[in-house]
Symmetry: C2
Subunit: 377 residues, 2 copies
């Protein structure tokens, strides 16, 4: 059996038991509310991982056409590409539709709708489209009370070669909600916003088969998600320091970590230098504005036990600097030259993106298998 | 001929003429000072790119053993792995040495030296080792005036199966030097520090065949680099917004850019939304403390002309938000739905790391060829 000592550092580890528990937690929420769960596979981008939280018979969300192609080739039929499509990607639509009959794209403007309708008229089968709705002023989407929403839906609904499936939103602003109450309020805002959009469309005679919403903090906020038909979320499968900082999970539930080795010290500064820099951890500093700034990651020992107060305070390309919040001396038994450590990611989507594969480990830290990742676009 | 319109966005572009001019600039500096140039290939990690600035007959610096393996397999013989080696990587040493006789590792502690000496005694040929020296309190390395420096060098020099080649340093603190004068002072500090270390070793009877120093800002500072035998630098091949912000290059000399398409707008906020998020640009915000914060990148039109004042102010995984510093309305001819734009990277090493290949373009924006990249460890 391969152990952590056999791996070249840095390496990305996935704790299979924590991962499966996290997946089950979200599945239970959706089931209790009788909502369809459409997992976003953008964090791990792995077909093997998806077997545990995004069954091939069910719907998924993807962030790139590369993911869409891989999942379609593996037999997934209901794939939502949740990034606005542009004409330079239209040529891939036909092939994806052949493999995945419910491959669905989104649009959020009259310009995008017009371009899609025009392109779809050249295809043999209708293009499935949803409209993106903006519920939190955060990023993309049409406002629920806008006339453009109705106009866009009407054009799609009246186009022979378009299959209008409904509307979707993502309350990305929930990542800034640092209390349970704020997350609950955002979950309500997310559902009410998209439900209001669906209601207006219904009044205009346009039916939404799907009303889709979600983010990990709003999905797990513990409120009922009324007015929607499906939940979307992604990072819950692994969690990370950002989610722990928001109280959505505990640090002990974080399933992803980066294995690293101690390459040296600067003893006068109480620094431990490891071979995990930003190339291995990513440049994400998503906890910088939290009560506890975790820098580039929290430090665990080789077995994954959190070493209280130790964090990666600074990174270069292939170097990470670990220090203690209280600037204490690093104990040699934990931080000696060559010792292995594990770093909990600030943002799992960004950290995982730095790798081509995951070493899946059991609770005895043995490598059970390797899961691959679909990178690129 | 493939044009930019044929590419799936986001895509990483390399302007071959700018790239070659940048390479020539550093080559000329080393030649004028009669210094060996040992380019760091960590920015592009591409054998095809290296042909233009790191000839196979000459020395190179690498940041991973994956790069070392690729370059050794391609015929490079003098490869410096500039990250402290740990025992879990020792097993790769023998294979690398067979391919690249001058494959060289570094150490910066007695613990690392002892482990290396012990391991080397089992090998058929001596292991080439250099000691890392700290000249700027920035990261790793032994202090030039430390007794540990002499002790480590003596152990290496006296070990039958070690070939002690000399000392190296990297003034990473130069990235915080925002004036030419500060960069020049750091270049002098870097050279004086490592030269002092070499002098102490010489007095102890230990010869340094190589005294190596450099970073792009100190190498291009315009001062004479006295006391060293070779220059190391890497990001100069492409430059980036950090280097432009420090005045080391102009934005027009930045050879790397990310091609992206406009997917939508939030017109009430004067936002343009593109399909290049942090996955395409990286999370690096290295200009955040500069006089001009370039966010996640400066915006150019499809031909690469800088659009003054436009920058990527915010990113999610696959979404970037572009705005103007003065919050003006985005002109439709430049920022219409589906338009192509190009983003100049904040930190080229980090942006390039998000890709598996580069589209090499000429001044007419035609794709001349594709260069691949060595990712992973």
């Amino acid at each position: 059996m391969t152990t952590l000592n056999d791996l070249i550092t840095p390496a990305c580890l996935l704790d299979s038991e924590k991962f499966k528990r996290n997946c089950e937690r979200m599945r239970a929420v959706a089931e209790a509310e009788q909502l369809v769960l459409r997992p976003h596979v953008k964090t791990l981008k792995s077909l093997q991982a998806a077997e545990y939280y995004a069954p091939v018979s069910g719907p998924v969300t993807v962030s790139t056409l590369a993911e869409a192609s891989a999942f379609a080739a593996a037999g997934y039929t209901d794939i939502l590409y949740a990034v606005g499509l542009t004409p330079n990607k239209f040529s891939q639509l036909a092939a994806l539709q052949r493999l995945a009959p419910d491959f669905t794209v989104i649009a959020d403007s009259q310009a995008a709708v017009a371009a899609l309708v025009s392109f779809a008229s050249q295809l043999d089968v209708p293009v499935a489209v949803m409209l993106e709705v903006d519920v939190d002023d955060h990023r993309a989407g049409l406002l629920p009370d806008s006339s453009e929403l109705i106009d866009c839906a009407r054009v799609l609904n009246n186009s022979a070669n378009i299959r209008f499936r409904g509307i979707m939103t993502h309350a990305g602003a929930s990542y800034d909600c640092d209390t349970k109450a704020a997350q609950q309020a955002m979950a309500v805002q997310e559902c009410q916003g998209i439900a209001a959009a669906a209601e207006r469309l219904s009044e205009a005679g346009i039916n939404c088969e799907i009303v889709s919403a979600g983010s990990t903090p709003t999905a797990l906020a513990g409120v009922e998600h009324t007015g929607i038909t499906e939940l979307r979320a992604g990072v819950y499968a692994t969690f990370d320091c950002v989610m722990a900082g928001l109280g959505v999970c505990s640090t002990d539930e974080i399933a992803l970590s980066v294995l690293t080795a101690v390459i040296g010290h600067q003893r006068d500064k109480n620094w431990v230098i490891v071979d995990a820099g930003w190339m291995a951890l990513s440049r994400d500093q998503g906890t910088a504005l939290h009560n506890v700034d975790c820098g580039y990651g929290l430090v665990c020992d080789e077995q994954g036990q959190l070493l209280d107060g130790w964090y990666v305070c600074s990174t270069n390309q292939e170097h990470g600097i670990i220090r203690h919040r209280d600037n204490i001396e690093p104990p040699e038994n934990l931080f000696g030259y060559g010792n292995l450590l594990r770093i909990l990611p600030i943002h799992a989507c960004a950290t995982a993106a730095q790798y081509q594969q995951y070493y899946v480990i059991n609770s005895a830290c043995e490598v059970e298998t390797i899961w691959s990742r679909v990178n690129g676009w």
